[in-house]
Amino acid sequence: MTNDFPEKTGLSQRQKVLLGQFATIFVILGLWEYAAGRWIDVFFVSKPSLICVKLWSEVFEASFYNDLRVTSLEMFGGYAIGGFGGVIFGVLLARWPVAAQICDPIFVALNSIPRIALAPLLIIWFGIDMASKIVLAATLVFFLTFFNTLAGILNVEAGLVNVARVQGASHWQIFTKVMLPGATSWIMTGLRTALPFALIGVIVGEFLAASEGLGYRLNQYSTTYNTTGTMAMLIVMMALMMVLNNIMIRIERRMLKWKPRSGYQIDTTY
């Protein structure tokens, strides 16, 4: 970002923000460290120092890597299937308005099922291994992507479509050269908002029935009242999500570089 006016202090706005963020985190962690064992029982909230030690020991455990790998694979599988399916269905139904009208209430109804309630059934159908988690994540991702894709294509400005029509574009050309690019920002928004849901689906599935995965590992810790282990797993999941989200935002920016940046920008890439 460029500043139109030179700052009086030596720090740029970016540096100030970073400094503020570090200070905030430091204060919170410091307060936590101090309060645990003094004001609150360590048993309930653990301690940042203990969590750090725990994370350090996890790093040397082979089982941790196995759990991380399983969760990542499940998440990737669910996200890929759900996202791909959502875009394809959105595109197909946008091309075929009657089908869209027929399917709309059905899809709304299916999407209204709380996915946690669906999970036991999926485990019966697909077993306690990776498949059931992949499907669960996919059902969450699918609808978010689908509804956004459909809305995006239907919201492409009529004026733009008319330009292509007048210039003699075929239906297929209008679709690929006007409708799809016009819907890109909606599709990308759908894919980005669906990302955390892929992790949610996978973790919920692992909670219910699993023999490996980060959700399973967290569940092991929490059922044995190991708050430190539980917190450590939460941090791992948080970090995983942030990394993936960052990748997603970068892809989105690259694809939408033609779009004017407007309004207040919260920079979430570091």
């Binding site: 007048v166 210039q167 690019p181 033609w258 779009k259 004017p260």
Partner: protein
């Protein structure tokens, strides 16, 4: 020659038939610059949408050089008020779009697009996205992306409407220069009587809704014209005052006649 024969448009609105456009008969000579002036909502845009093939007529037909226009027709180009440049395409890719859809090789279509871009003074902005361009620049892009595929007839629906007064005159001048070399047939709709007379070989006056042609005036001001000083031309003033009297009646409507 372009022949609009008895073209009219009616549509259903809240259970009643509304006549948007009364039967219009119009002959436009090849290479003629025709402007149509009329009050808002008189059906000018409806007429152009029908001629462009975007909207079916309720009655009548349009022919270009004797062949009937059925639906969208590459011989007819349409330039609208909003520039409608594809926001995800660079200026070059917007201008080259009509050539792209006809299957022209990239190198050739870029060469042609760049030549047009240079002609309208946008050299250096080939790879700019529409949001990086000003309103006037975007409208230039809108015009040349139609000229690039050389349609025989150009329909222009208030193309300079949203622009500021100075940009308008610059673009009017540019349009005249482009037209004088291509000599396409032009049907140009506007609210602005100065623009209508300044550009045209012939000005048509349309009535308030339902739209009818109420006046057909030949403009014999010599070409090439200096649009920047069109007000200084004596013929212009006479025509302006004369046509304005009639337009004023249409703009004000019959009800205001009793008011002071």
């Amino acid at each position: 020659m372009m022949h609009i024969q008895g073209v009219g448009k009616r549509f259903m609105s809240r259970g009643a038939w509304v006549t948007a456009l009364e039967s219009v008969d119009l002959k436009v000579q090849t290479g003629e610059f025709l402007t149509i002036v009329g009050p808002s909502g008189c059906g000018k845009s409806t007429l152009l949408n029908i001629v462009a093939g975007l909207m079916p007529a309720s009655q009548g037909q349009v022919t270009v050089n004797g062949t009937k226009v059925t639906g969208v027709d590459r011989r007819i180009g349409y330039i609208t008020q909003s520039d409608n440049l594809f926001p995800w395409r660079t200026l070059r890719d917007n201008v080259a779009f009509p050539l792209e859809i006809e299957g022209m090789a990239r190198e050739e279509r870029y060469r042609r697009a760049d030549a047009w871009i240079e002609r309208v003074g946008l050299k250096g902005f080939e790879t700019a996205y529409p949001h990086e361009l000003s309103g006037g620049m975007r409208q230039r892009g809108n015009i040349i992306r139609t000229l690039v595929y050389e349609p025989e007839v150009l329909l222009m629906d208030e193309p300079f409407g949203p622009l500021d007064a100075q940009t308008r005159i610059v673009l009017q001048d540019l349009l005249l220069k482009l037209w004088e070399t291509s000599r396409a047939t032009v049907i140009f709709i506007t609210h602005d009587l100065t623009e209508a007379i300044g550009l045209a070989d012939r000005v048509l006056l349309m009535s308030a809704r339902p739209g009818r042609m109420v006046r057909d005036e030949r403009i014999s001001i010599a070409r090439p014209r200096d649009i920047f000083h069109i007000h200084d031309v004596p013929e212009f003033r006479v025509l302006y005052d004369d046509i304005w009297k009639e337009l004023e009646v249409q703009v004000r409507g019959p009800t205001t006649a009793t008011k002071p």
